[in-house]
């Protein structure tokens, strides 16, 4: 009996199935780099979004470019969390894991919940592949997986059978296995096939055989689900209560790139993005390089120093100079950032943080560059530091970064990270007419008795942005200390003190216009959980759970790290205790204690991975002695 025939027979079993409703589910696809897991994951999350769930996703790329097939290093994963209510993270524990080969099983099984569904391609558990994954015995047979609901499917065989009459090479046929397994998982979670079918049709429009193959694989997988006796159940995750509107899925890097293009248009300025490739920031460069027709210019510089140099040069000329990098690149940019501090020119530095120190773990996330952004330069060098809380928020916050840079003539750090960069969530597509304008004025006339004083400031202490090419405003700037008002070089001691304090005050003045720190939860209470950057999602989820348990806990997110909102100290003092979870050894904690003298408890994780919701929750419980 062929596998397909066998499947048909089993189909009769489907009558006995029942459907269970779940508020949320976490699925992970894992396989070899060549197995197309990223594609399967993306399709699954799109289908879920289109279906109406809230979603949050996280890819997990291998560190190597293309590790040997079947090796542990070559495993590629994609996790999707979809739900019937607001979610903030890709999920702690996996409810259903797809493992396309032994290596994928080995590296991912520890994240599967006890009793979770484990779908494996049993055809891939050959002696050689088991060996590559370091298995001495076959886990499908040695009982080591009995904690899970193992669904061993001969995917290769079934897929080949389903596609047997198509004129395709065996390799081409096998490439469709991801759609087969995707179909199976679609069946399991009642996902609509249409979005994926549409995608296949568009994508392979020029290759009907491949199109047909993928469609068949998807459908075969779906049908196969019906026949599975190991899985006498389907799950239904109802639609979520989501604000009406148009949505798309967006990663942090995409949102950052789109935000930059948007800021350029809102300001009526050319965006000049200068960067030297580095993981995990490179995709911003790649995305923007495609945006020429939006008036976006990209420069791939010879190194990070050149990149920020070009960005500052562009700003000097009146464009929006932006540079993007990761931590090691920030090291190299620090001297030039300092020049921009002194010259008081706008420039935005995007730091997509990764695990350090040094080269560290380039593909892994971390939040350990905060103090570097604040203090990593010689002398008193105040800069603005912002940090987005979620992938979609990268869009609004990078626009804010640009706005502050140009309106205060200052460098602005934008602290993204590897997790935000690659994980995705739904993004409500903004209405263009509702986006704020970015107003920029360049002087055209002398500002003092027929002369132009480049360091004559307005009431906010901001100096004018006079552009080369403007007759009569010729002036010189540079990195030597400058005389107040005139901008001439000055070694005068009191002038230096005045300028140092003025630069600091200018940045401090931004606190006058940023929103106060708000809390989610009670305005006073036993515990405040305060955070910055990408840990937001896990923290909100944990705090909401704790609140539902009746605990007196609130959380607050610092999107402005420098200056901080004016009420920060006051907010901290309203709670008996303060918890600061961070993916570092305590950067924000040092700052809060140092600035506000409020004792903070740290929850610090430095594993190259985001917090699990449960980790935060446990700490909350521990502190509140629940």
């Amino acid at each position: 009996m062929s596998a397909t025939a066998e499947a048909m027979t089993k189909a009769s079993l489907s009558k006995q199935r029942h459907i269970e409703e779940r508020p949320e589910v976490v699925v992970r696809f894992a396989g070899d780099s060549g197995d197309g897991m990223q594609l399967a994951g993306t399709q699954f999350s799109n289908a879920s979004a289109v279906f109406g769930n809230d979603i949050s996703t996280l890819p997990d790329f291998p560190a190597e470019i293309r590790a040997p097939a079947g090796s542990l290093a070559g495993v590629s994963g994609y996790q999707i969390h979809f739900s019937s209510y607001d979610i903030y993270t890709p999920g702690d524990r996996v409810n259903a894991l797809v493992a396309m080969n032994p290596a994928a099983l080995k590296t991912n099984i520890k994240d599967l919940e006890e009793g979770g569904i484990l779908i494996v391609n049993s055809d891939a558990f050959t002696t050689s592949d088991l060996q590559k994954a370091g298995y001495k015995t076959n886990p499908l047979e040695d009982g080591s997986l009995k904690k899970y609901r193992l669904v061993a499917v001969p995917i290769t065989k079934l897929n080949r059978e389903a596609l047997s009459d198509l004129k395709l090479s065996p390799r081409e046929v096998d490439r469709c296995r991801n759609f087969f397994v995707l179909g199976l998982v679609y069946w399991l979670y009642e996902r609509p096939l249409e979005p994926t079918l549409r995608w296949i049709k568009e994508k392979f429009a020029r290759n009907p055989a491949v199109m047909e193959a993928n469609i068949r694989a998807l459908k075969a997988g779906y049908s196969y689900g019906e026949t599975l006796e190991e899985l006498p159940v389907q799950y239904r995750v109802p639609k979520a209560k989501i604000a009406p509107g148009r949505y798309r899925k967006i990663t942090g890097n995409e949102a950052t790139a789109l935000g930059l293009v948007t800021a350029g248009q809102l300001a009526g300025k050319t965006l000049v993005y200068c960067s030297y490739p580095i993981t995990p920031a490179s995709d911003i460069l790649h995305t923007l390089a495609e945006m020429r027709r939006y008036g976006v210019v990209t420069i791939q510089a010879e190194d990070e120093i050149a990149a920020i140099g070009a960005a500052i040069g562009a700003s000097f000329g009146g464009a929006l100079g932006v540079t993007g990098t990761s931590g090691p690149g920030v090291c190299l940019k620090s001297e030039a950032i300092n020049l921009a501090v002194m010259a008081e020119l706008p420039v935005v530095i995007i730091d997509v943080q990764r695990a350090g120190p040094s080269t560290g773990m380039p593909t892994k996330t971390e939040q350990a560059d905060l103090l570097q952004a604040l203090f990593g330069r010689n002398g008193e060098s105040p800069v603005v530091v912002l940090a987005p809380a979620s992938p979609a928020e990268c869009f609004t916050l990078i626009i804010e970064a640009i706005r502050l840079a140009v309106s205060y003539m200052t460098p602005v750090f934008f602290m993204s990270d590897g997790y935000l960069a690659n994980s995705a969530e739904p993004w409500p597509i903004p209405k263009v007419e509702e986006l704020p304008k970015i107003e920029i004025k360049h002087p055209t006339e002398p500002n003092e008795d027929g002369q132009f004083m480049p360091y004559k400031r307005d009431h906010r202490l901001v100096r004018p942005w006079a552009l080369p090419g403007t007759p009569g405003l010729e002036h010189r700037i540079g990195g030597l200390e400058k005389e107040d008002v005139t901008g001439n070089v000055s070694y005068d001691p009191l002038n230096h003190e005045h300028m140092v304090r003025t630069r600091a005050q200018k940045v401090a003045n931004i606190a006058d216009e940023i929103p106060p720190l708000s809390v989610l939860g009670p305005e006073t209470g036993d515990l405040l959980v305060i955070s910055w950057g990408s840990t937001y999602g896990a923290i909100v989820a944990a705090v909401e759970r704790a609140q539902r348990k009746g605990l007196s806990v609130a959380c607050a997110q610092l999107r402005y790290l420098n200056p901080m909102p004016k009420n920060t100290g006051e907010v901290l003092r309203r709670y008996k205790r303060v918890l600061v979870p961070e993916l570092n050894l305590g950067h924000l904690r040092l700052l809060l204690q140092g600035r506000y003298l409020v004792e903070c408890v740290g929850l610090n994780k430095v594993q190259g991975r985001p917090f699990l919701v449960s980790e935060i929750e446990e700490k909350i419980h521990q502190l509140l002695q629940v």
């Binding site: 568009e202 050149a306 500052i312 562009a314 000329g317 030039a336 010259a343 403007t470 990195g479």
Partner: protein
Amino acid sequence: MPAATLPTLTPKDFASDQDVRWCPGCGDYSILAQMKKVCASLGIPREKFVFISGIGCSSRFPYYMNTYGFHTIHGRAPTFATGLKVARPDLLVWVITGDGDGLSIGGNHLLHALRRNVDIKIVLFNNEIYGLTKGQYSPTSRLGTRTKSSPLGSIENPIRPITIALAAEATFVARTIDVDVNHLTETLRRAAFHKGSAFVEVYQNCKVFNDGVFEYTTDKEVKSENVLYLEQGKPLIFGKNRDKGIRLNGLEPEVVELGKGVSVDDLIIHDEKAAEPTLAFVLSRMYHPQFPEPVGVFRAIERPTFEDLLNRQVEDAIKAKGRGKLEELFQSEDIWVVEEAEANGPAALD
């Protein structure tokens, strides 16, 4: 770059109100004076000039020019200039640098700016010393040079700025001398009119820390024996009585005396426009005292500039698909719409 309408400007118009603070006798003064002359003669409005520099005595230059100026950080001036020129192709951007600024810490940026052919004019004041930090040897200092940091003599083989510029695929490469006023002026003018990166090495005397290192090219008595003026299409002749020339022997240049069986026709004819920079390379390696040292334009060829190519990509993209609008930008393959009615999920459960 130079425009048709000529504002009448004088060198004085280009003098800023700042006291010039180089040491008395420094070669920089002459370069400053000539630069003002050249700027005034170009027919370009003053506000269109920008001088960008790194750090060094030479890099103080922008403060003394009544134009836009940016005194940046050590070695990085070409990077700022690149960003500026890309953003503002309408400006005439000069980069002022030194042998330390441009070839020690900043060697790489120089190289990449030149290879990209960004339309900036780089003037490297070569005094074979670090002036501003009070006298250490530089990458152009001759072997054995005794300085504060090489009290027993420098052991580092110098590099030749012109050779490096040629290897970097520069489209305009020239050399001149601080006190050779007319030649300096003419060379700077040529650089200004070149479309693309221009690289000009200026032999500059550091009165305080390396006095006289180029004296053989400036001393009235000997300079005509030691300097070879390059002129397009002309044979390589030099000497007080213009009785010597440079001939090729295979691939190697040699000094010959005219007359004794050697005629002008045997000499190398200078060709700055040669597609390949081989001749320029050969010339760049002629050094005193074996050879007279060539000054003038070694190479001047045409190649599209970086900012033109970049902006052309923008224009072409717009031509092909229209100017991008934000509405389009936000589109993607998978957009879904949540209708009011659909928003029907349960409250969160635990």
